[in-house]
Amino acid sequence: MIEITALSVRLGGREVLTEVGLRVPRGEWLAVIGPNGAGKSTLVKALMGLVAHRGEITLDGRPGAALRPRERARLVAYAPQTPALPPDMTVFEYALLGRTPYIPYLGRESRRDKEITASVLDRLDLTGLAARRAGELSGGERQRAVLARALTQQAPVLLLDEPTTALDLGHQQQVLELVDRLRLADGLTVVTTLHDLTVAGLYADRLLLLAGGRAVAAGEPGQVLTESLVGAHFGAHVTIEPGPGGRPVVQLVRGGP
């Protein structure tokens, strides 16, 4: 579904990503992990066509460079790390914006666009909040509203940049479970950046570890989340043990590094 070869990005004269390659098959969840400044968000933005880059990006078998913005928007839905929700807009109006790639430039939404939006809100338990102004939402509600906007795009790929930032434990779980459920139900391909390593290993099928703009490890959670890799690239002293279900659990060691 997504294939990237030798992706390099320069921002402000500095090379932020160097020769990164990755492959995500349809229906898989890839989590991009790495220390601060490793280039995680830049990778996501390159996938969205938001930053200039060298190297090849292929989406659904089509070269990314040849995609027009609207075509790309029908393939990939994106939720940024700090989404801007216009405070005066209602949740319904905001989610309806996700239909933009299907509406002509100066056109307006069809009945069908509104029905799709209503059904997405229903799936995310947001129907009761549809008429609520975005400025009045709690953190968890905002995150679900952003997810709703991304889902109304009906794109087969979902790109989420740190979807759980600023959410408490319960809401983190709620959002991630929701993404997981939608992925299994609709066959979505999901790429997220995540800073919580245990959470990343728990939900994603595969992990990509970025450090200093390079892909230093990739594979199943157990292969990437090792004490030596995490120790070397995060500069952290951790123990990693298999948790229930065999997924690795990362714990800090007090007194290190």
Partner: protein
């Protein structure tokens, strides 16, 4: 003594009951036309009041009948003498119409600029339109012998020139289409052109009064003034109204707009073009009338919600009503003399604006 056993409550679910708004699908389609109808009614009332203003012996009923009589294919007897009819038709009617068009243009342009810059402080004069028009008008008044007819042409060219200068400067100084550099460029252009304008006007101190009279605004130019502004008004406001949904998309930020398949730079350019055309047309016929472009869209937004699909048309209509009333005040409050209309818009607009801000803030908290 704290309770040793912490109360274990189920995690509160985010879902809350809706507040009496059953169907979001129909909500907009009901509320939108209602607001527009309300604004149009306000405009109609203000226009009748504008036609009445100043005359002692014409009744509202006669004015309404006379307006009906002017309509094609309809005849109504207002009982007005030909002199009174002439007064209404040749002086008051064009004046009310010009005020309505200029007010609508300034308000809808202000709403457009606020959408493009995602900044509530953006106004129609932000990008140097006012300073450019002011300079051009001043040069015309100072240098040309019989400038009355050429002032609007010069002001229009000056306004467009000011905006183009700011846009060119903003694009060379920063990333193409970036908004912050564009605003800074507008500030620089405004200061620079205002400095030149002040310099030029010192050459003919005896013309200062005319220059200030122009700067403070006037909508009393008759039918010629109305026909001059109408084509630009029609083109620019239609263009702006068509971009309502696109401005809603832009309000989520450039990156997300791009991820939705929208070329943000292109939308911004189109809206800036239309809003600048509207501003230039308004400035050209009526001078610099301040505050309409900020006050009206904000009041509309506070009352009717933030979607530009509602803010743009309502600003157009409410701005028209606002300036008609402002003009009525300008020519009646110290009659038979007249106040400059720009003084009234600021004098009335500022406290009204503060009142609406306070009112809605209290309602929100």
């Amino acid at each position: 003594m704290p309770d040793p056993v912490p109360e274990v409550a189920p995690r509160p679910v985010d879902r809350q009951p809706s507040r009496g708004v059953p169907d979001p699908l129909t909500r907009r389609s009901v509320a939108g036309p209602l607001w527009v109808a309300g604004a149009l009614a306000l405009l109609a009332v203000s226009m009748v009041a504008g036609l009445l203003g100043g005359a002692a012996d014409i009744s509202p009923r006669q004015v309404v009948l006379q307006v009906v009589d002017w309509l094609p294919l309809v005849h109504a007897d207002s009982g007005l003498a030909p002199v009174e009819q002439g007064l209404l038709y040749e002086i008051r009617l064009p004046r009310v119409l010009v005020a309505a068009v200029v007010g609508g243009l300034l308000a809808v342009a202000g709403a457009g600029y606020q959408g493009v810059f995602r900044n509530p402080l953006a106004d129609p004069y932000l990008l140097g339109a006012a300073a450019g028009a002011g300079l051009a008008a001043t040069v015309t008044i100072v240098l040309l012998p019989a400038p009355a007819a050429t002032i609007p042409v010069a002001a229009f060219a000056g306004a467009v020139g000011g905006v183009l200068l700011a846009y060119a400067l903003g694009n060379t100084a920063g990333r193409a289409g970036g908004t912050a550099t564009l605003v800074l460029a507008g500030v620089a252009v405004t200061s620079f052109l205002t400095a030149i304008q002040t310099f030029v006007q010192q050459f003919k101190v005896e013309e200062l009064q005319r220059i200030y009279a122009w700067i403070l605004g006037d909508v009393g130019g008759g039918w010629a003034q109305f026909w001059l502004v109408l084509p630009y008004a029609a083109v620019s406001s239609v263009l702006l109204l068509l971009h309502g949904r696109m401005l809603d998309v832009l309000s989520v930020g450039d990156e997300e707009a791009t991820s939705l398949g929208v070329r943000a730079g292109r939308v911004r350019f189109a809206v800036l073009l239309a809003a600048s055309l509207a501003t230039a047309a308004a400035v050209a016929v009526s001078g610099l009338i301040g505050f309409v472009g900020i006050v009206v869209p904000h009041v509309v937004r506070r009352l009717a919600g933030g979607s530009y699909r509602r803010v743009l048309p309502l600003s157009l209509v409410a701005g028209a009503a606002f300036l008609v009333v402002a003009d009525l005040i300008a020519r009646t409050v110290i009659a038979p003399a007249e106040l400059p209309i720009g003084v009234v818009t600021m004098f009335v607009g500022a406290p009204f604006f503060v009142a609406v801000l306070r009112m809605t803030r209290q309602a929100a908290t």
